[in-house]
């Protein structure tokens, strides 16, 4: 349809088409403040998802490859359980008789040494007298509990000794210091002595360690191998940390240690131990009773060197929270009969008009705008990525205590609205404003925690971690509502290692 042209239209169009009115400064500030709170848009979300998936995949692949590599290395080094070392004729005269009390430590003290997970490498060798010996080692099956070893009578006591490799032609049963997290030499020596007391090295050679060397070396005892009486010279090659008093071994056999839980990773001293794991955790904020707990299922990796721990992870977290809405409404005032129309009919008999009134029921609401609010419980999904470094303060048996610090990154994924609708009754709802929940955004924290963990078996452990978290990126709404950015939390975890 052709538009009609009118001078008034042209006049006003030409006059006002480029009219600009400068907004007030207050409206500008209000707009900028509110705009900063709006969620970002664009393809970055997808990009961020791809990056996170890539990182998670890389972590998993790295963990699996490292586990396979280390596990394979562990099994390769433990293949030489059978005797391989042969002594030469000079050694044969140096090994004491099995029942001869030699090089046994006085069992004056038995101290439990917190050892990481030492591997006892003492090869039981069946020496061939006709072949020169090259090394002299005895294997003992490793024990799961690093602090438990076998005494000569078969009971568990302290760490078994590790027989040191010596020069060819020499048989030296020296005790290597156990792998310990501390470097106190006196403690090491003491522990070494006790460990050596429980090690019995069997050698094929009938030679025994000379008396003058009994204070310095520990031949140990080897099963089923005859030993000569003490008196023959055996050069001492022990290091300063491996000297032991000369006491005979209690028995001639090395009972096989109980190994219910063979180790998966070889905790060799000075090497980094990588432990990937699955974890379920439950986080509760302590100073806010209304805050719902956060359930997290995650995949992580822990690097440990000595007592120092570094852990990272990525997990899917879920929590519930309340999403608020603000309602603008008018109050209901009542009903009345509204006059729609009147018709008149002429009454010829009475010479007047007869009106007919047409009415309808009409509701009336107040014009005053009022505000109301209501909340609906929603479920929020987050991607949680903690990064922590820690120090293992105390370890004893299955229990360990460590302190950790680091950061926790929570990326908002989506929210699912729960059931529940606003019941307005007879009020007239003008508009419902969505008051954005603080949970519908990324929230990052600095954290510090104290972790008390208990290993149920070699794979499963539980831990309780009281935490303090510092909120790194509060919004303006957060900073007005929360009293402190530093909040206490309590976290319980179930960890499954693989």
């Amino acid at each position: 349809m052709k538009r009609d042209s009118h001078p008034i239209d042209d006049f006003f169009r030409e006059s006002l088409k480029d009219t600009k009115v400068t907004p007030s400064a207050q409206s500008r500030i209000h707009f900028l403040e509110e705009a900063a709170l709006l969620p970002r848009q664009g393809g970055f979300k997808g990009f961020r998802w791809n990056n996170l998936l890539g990182v998670a995949g890389l972590l998993i692949v790295t963990g699996i490859m490292t586990y396979v590599f280390l596990a394979g290395k562990t099994y390769r080094s433990s293949d030489t359980v059978s005797a391989t070392v042969v002594e030469n004729s000079s050694i044969q005269s140096q090994i004491p008789a099995p029942n001869t009390p030699q090089a046994t430590l006085p069992a004056t003290e038995t101290t439990q040494i917190p050892v990481e997970s030492p591997e006892k490498q003492v090869n039981t060798s069946v020496p061939n007298p006709n072949k020169p010996s090259t090394s002299y080692t005895q294997h003992i099956q490793p024990s799961v509990n690093p602090s438990v070893t076998l005494t000569p009578n078969g009971s568990r006591k302290t760490e078994p000794a590790q027989i040191q490799k010596t020069d060819p032609g020499q048989t030296v049963a020296s005790v290597e210091p156990p792998i310990m997290p501390f470097t106190d030499k006196e403690k090491v020596n003491k522990a070494t002595k006790e460990i050596a007391a429980n090690v019995q090295v069997n050698t094929a050679s009938p030679n025994a360690i000379p008396k003058e060397n009994q204070n310095e070396t520990l031949p140990g005892s080897i099963e089923d191998k005859p030993m000569t009486a003490p008196g023959n010279d055996v050069p001492a090659t022990s290091s300063s940390s491996t000297s032991v008093p000369s006491t005979p071994p209690a028995s001639s056999s090395v009972p096989a240690p109980q190994t219910n839980f063979p180790k998966l990773n070889d905790p060799v001293k000075n090497k980094i131990n990588l432990q990937p794991y699955f974890e379920y955790s439950l986080d509760n904020q302590l100073n806010s009773p209304g805050t719902k707990p956060v359930h997290t299922l995650s995949l992580g990796g822990q690097l440990q060197k000595g007592r120092f721990i570094f852990s990272v992870g990525a997990g899917y977290a879920m929590t519930n929270g309340f999403h608020s809405y603000q309602v603008e409404y008018n109050d209901y005032l009542g009903r009345y009969k509204k006059l729609d129309s009147i018709t008149f009919a002429w009454d010829q008999n009475h010479y007047h008009l007869l009106p007919s009134y047409y009415m309808s029921e009409t509701s009336v609401w107040d014009s005053l705008l009022k505000l109301d609010s209501y909340s609906i419980e929603n479920r929020y999904s987050l991607l949680k990525m903690p990064v922590k470094i820690g120090y293992q303060v105390y370890t004893k048996g299955w229990f360990s205590l460590s302190v950790n610090t680091g950061a926790e990154f929570n990326f908002f994924i989506d929210s699912k609205q729960g059931s529940g609708e606003y019941s307005a009754g007879q009020k007239k709802v003008i508009q419902i404003h969505d008051v954005k929940s603080d949970l519908e955004r990324n929230r990052h924290y600095l954290l510090f925690d104290l972790s008390a963990a208990c290993n149920l078996n070699r794979r499963i452990s539980i831990a309780v971690e009281p935490q303090m978290k510092y909120f790194l990126n509060p919004s303006e709404t957060d900073s007005k509502e929360i009293k402190s950015l530093l909040t206490p939390w309590i976290r319980t975890t179930l960890k499954i290692k693989f």
Binding site: V21, A36, F44
Partner: protein, 191 residues
């Protein structure tokens, strides 16, 4: 000064500088548009604020239409926001217009050339004339004259008949003509 594409990307990322430039560049024109619809500055600034929030929330959708004019898209959002505001305001109002809706279109009066008076009136005065119109006349006049809506589109937007739209436009023109005459006569008297 950012280019349009850089400005849009910055707005999407909620970059502070981009938001400031968006407001500084387009807010004056949009506020003028909102004032023509709302009739007063207070309501116009509220509508402008709501319009900008809608713009920020839906700027991604504009990116999907590369051939569209960004300023034109902004103005359409502002117009729709103003219409929604006026619709809600009408619901809240207890005032019922008693003037019946005419179903016939009166004959056009003799057109008066206003070109001679264009330079004699300030923009503020002209804007005030628009703002003084009843909101129904003002809405139809704005939609028809400034946004180039057809009567059919106006009727769909305002939920009325085409004849009602035409009648309202006719009356708006008549009132504006009368106001211009009054203002000009006052000016000539004051001189």
């Amino acid at each position: 000064m950012l280019s349009e594409s850089a400005l849009i990307k910055g707005v999407q990322k909620r970059n502070r500088e981009a938001l400031e430039e968006l407001h500084d560049r387009y807010a004056p024109a949009l506020l003028g548009l909102c004032m023509r619809y709302c009739g007063n500055r207070t309501d116009a600034e509220d509508v402008l604020h709501d319009a900008f929030i809608k713009i920020l929330m839906s700027v991604g959708k504009f990116m999907e239409r590369p051939n569209s004019s960004f300023e034109g898209w902004l103005k359409r959002i502002a117009v729709n926001t103003a219409l929604n505001f006026l619709r809600d305001k009408t619901k809240m109002s207890r005032v019922v217009e008693l003037e019946p809706v005419q179903e016939w279109i009166p004959e056009e009066e003799e057109e008066t050339s206003l070109a001679a008076f264009a330079g004699r009136l300030e923009k503020d005065e002209i804007m005030a004339m628009i703002c003084e119109l009843p909101h129904g006349y003002r809405t139809v006049f704005n939609m028809y004259v400034f946004e180039d809506f057809s009567h059919k589109e106006i009727a769909e937007a305002l939920n009325c008949s085409e004849n009602t739209s035409k009648t309202q436009l006719f009356k708006a023109r008549a009132m504006l003509q009368k106001k211009i005459t009054e203002v000009l006569s006052k000016q000539s008297v004051s001189k």
